[in-house]
């Protein structure tokens, strides 16, 4: 779960990471009032759960109430990379002397937490990693020990920033506290700013919470609601299914993440464009399969659907029953061609059931993928 900036900053505030004074606004009028309360200049910042918003016009610095109102009305409701902006953070302007980058993240490769620092902040860190990798310095941490002052010395002293280590350590140790207490995969400040008066402030905030820890991370419901998770993903989640929206027109349903990914690959290889990833998981019930099929059929622009099941603990009869339920709801038909491939546990019985339905069956994954691409173009025969 990737938090919005103001959400992350709320958590920063709770642990004492210094941030500029800011007011969240959802209308241009609110933003204008917020701006005049704070005094100028202020930054008007689009709240979106991913980076690159500066380049996309999502941040404006303004000097008057009128300018604040018009900047907010431009940003609010605009579409940035498919996310409709619902709120702006109006934030007091900061006189920047220097900009740094500071993050704590899970290092998958080393399987430990890692603290990362760059004396070049405020830029695209991934780009910097490619163009000037020596500008990014990092230290592996031991989960049993945590972050110690010497780690920050290792990062700052060699680049001539020794006088900042105690101020940066104070912030970094609070970030680490947040990283642990909130089960984060990433906590990032870019830029971490040294102001003209010499204080250190987190100008931006990015935070990713591990989805696996949701059972013990409480009070995130309001954040989640604001993140506007697509309806289809929410509906799938409620059914215990895993749904990811993609851009194409062929719906794909399968059991097991790896197998669904492999199915998407074969559809793509056959010249098709998958509309989604939908994993019904292990041991799916007929109701779950029906629910999944309804979600996929309900997505606009889906021209055909491929259902690929390799039954282990999942039984193919259950899957066929799930399809059959949806056929019944559509008075014995399906709105778009559906190609079904069933193998493994219960395949024989499942196929018998599927062959009585208005779907096409194919014996192998490769054939099924080719067929669904063909029928998505022609509309199918059955």
């Amino acid at each position: 779960m990737d938090l919005l900036e103001h959400q992350a900053k709320q958590l920063f505030r709770e642990v004492g990471v210094p941030i500029p004074i800011g007011i969240l606004s959802t209308s241009p009028t609110e933003a204008a009032t917020a701006a005049s309360t704070l005094g100028f200049p202020v930054a008007i910042k689009a709240q979106i759960p991913f980076g690159g918003r500066g380049k996309a016009g999502g941040i404006k610095i303004v000097d008057s109430t009128e300018a604040a109102e018009s900047a907010a009305s431009e940003i609010l409701g605009s579409d940035i990379k498919g996310f409709s902006v619902g709120s702006v953070l109006v934030e007091s302007g900061v006189k920047i002397a220097e900009e740094f980058y500071l993050a704590i993240m899970v290092d998958r490769g080393a399987k430990v937490p890692r603290v990362v620092f760059s004396e070049q902040g405020g830029v695209d860190i991934e780009l910097l990693a490619l163009t000037s990798p020596d500008m990014i310095r990092s230290v592996e941490l031991d989960a049993f020990v945590g972050l110690r002052p010497y780690h920050i010395h290792q990062l700052l002293d060699p680049v001539g920033l020794a006088e900042l280590t105690s101020a940066v350590f104070k912030i970094a140790s609070r970030l680490y506290e947040l990283f642990v207490s909130r089960d984060c995969l990433l906590v990032e400040i870019n830029p971490l700013v040294k102001t003209e008066s010499g204080t250190i402030v987190a100008l931006d905030a990015k935070l990713t919470i591990d989805d696996n820890s949701r059972y013990r991370q409480h009070g995130l419901e309001a954040f989640e609601e604001e993140l506007k998770i697509p309806q289809a993903e929410l509906a799938a989640g409620e059914l215990g299914l895993n749904y990811v929206h993609l851009e194409g027109d062929i719906g794909v349903i399968g059991n097991g993440a790896g197998l669904v990914m492999a199915t998407l690959d074969l559809v793509s290889d056959a010249g098709g464009d998958p509309a989604n990833f939908l994993d019904v998981g292990g041991g799916a019930s007929a109701a779950q399969v029906s629910g999944g099929l309804r979600i996929v059929l309900g997505e606009p622009g889906v021209k055909a659907v491929l259902i690929n099941i390799f039954g282990g603990i999942t039984r193919c009869e259950e899957v066929a029953q799930g399809i059959s339920n949806v056929v019944d709801e559509h008075n014995g038909t399906l709105p778009v061609p559906v190609v079904v491939r069933l193998a493994g546990n219960g395949a024989e019985e499942g196929l018998k059931m599927a062959n009585a339905l208005p779907v096409e069956t194919r014996p192998t994954l490769e054939e099924a993928a080719k067929r669904v691409v063909a029928v998505s173009e022609t509309g199918g025969s059955k």
Binding site: M261, A262, D265
Partner: protein, 289 residues
């Protein structure tokens, strides 16, 4: 011989009294696995599917002589179950999905210290067809004994490929499902090292997917340390960046961990990469000669 487990392996089931635990305990026994008991805190002294239930792993091991454990407890209890098992056992398989990454960072450090082999979490388990050992949830009917070691991050994709191997008359030595989490207990490298020292394994199939760099590191390792031929399958060529494809670990982030970049690294180390189940069967057939 086989990898991690053999015919003498005695298994306890943590979470035996749960729906999944009891179902798979019976299934594992039917496959020939020596399941000797189970653990459910608070239910010690009772019986489940004809097996004794103990309160703690320590007691279960002491009274049954178990050498391995398989974990089916719900996610909030899995970390505790892993730590408890690694106090008393050398081999632990965690089927449970949804263990927090932070817990796995600590668990991995501990199991290394104790020299415990943890497979999973979020994994389908281990199958050794020749020794008739099936620990986890993999369907026994698709396996047949033979020379190919299989190690995989995915469950059902493994079934698909193993099934194709069996239909083509190519049997398996041991199949290890390491699971789809970002921080697994056993990595590809550790599995390849185990296959290297297994006399029954003549070639290895590695089934990987997008996310992380374990496949790349395994390729480096194999080039130096694996004398047996290795072929690979990578899932997720069509996956867009920034979207988590079902598995917690399957995400292309910051431009890293794409299927194409993995394929390029593997091929540069002389490891053939297939992108269809049919392709991987052909590839392994050609290396077996």
């Amino acid at each position: 011989m086989s990898v991690l487990v053999d015919a003498s392996t005695k298994v306890i089931v943590q979470g035996l009294t749960g729906h999944e635990g009891s179902f798979h305990a019976q299934r594992m026994i039917a496959c020939g696995t020596q399941v000797v008991g189970g653990v459910t805190p608070g239910k010690g002294g009772t019986e489940e599917v004809g097996l004794p239930v103990f309160d703690t792993v320590e007691e279960a091991v002491r009274k049954t002589g178990a050498s391995a454990s398989v974990i089916f407890v719900p996610a909030p209890f899995a970390y505790d179950a892993i730590l408890e098992a690694s106090d008393s056992l050398q081999t632990v398989v965690c089927v449970t999905e949804g263990v927090p990454v932070k817990d796995m960072m600590i668990a991995r450090r501990l199991i290394h210290q104790k020299k415990v082999s943890l497979v999973g979490p979020n994994c389908p388990g281990i199958v050794c067809p020749k020794a008739k050992v099936n620990i986890g949830i993999m369907p026994e009917s698709i396996f047949t004994p033979g020379p190919v070691g299989v190690v995989s991050r995915s469950g059902t994709l493994t079934y698909e490929i193993v099934n194709d191997l069996t239909l083509e008359g190519i049997g398996q030595s041991t199949c290890i499902g390491i699971g789809g989490d970002p921080i697994p207990g056993t990595t590809f490298i550790e599995a390849l090292a185990a296959f290297e020292s297994d006399d029954d394994t003549k070639a290895v199939i590695m089934i990987g997917e997008i996310g992380g760099d374990e496949e790349e590191k395994a390729a480096e390792f194999a080039a130096e340390n694996l004398s047996k031929p290795l072929v690979a399958y990578i899932a997720g060529f069509s996956a867009p960046p920034g979207k988590k494809m079902g598995h917690a670990g399957a995400i292309v982030s910051q431009g890293k961990g794409t299927a194409a970049s993995k394929k390029a690294v593997l091929e540069s180390k002389g490891i053939p990469v297939a992108s269809t189940p049919v392709g991987i069967v052909k590839a392994v057939r050609s290396v077996l000669g």
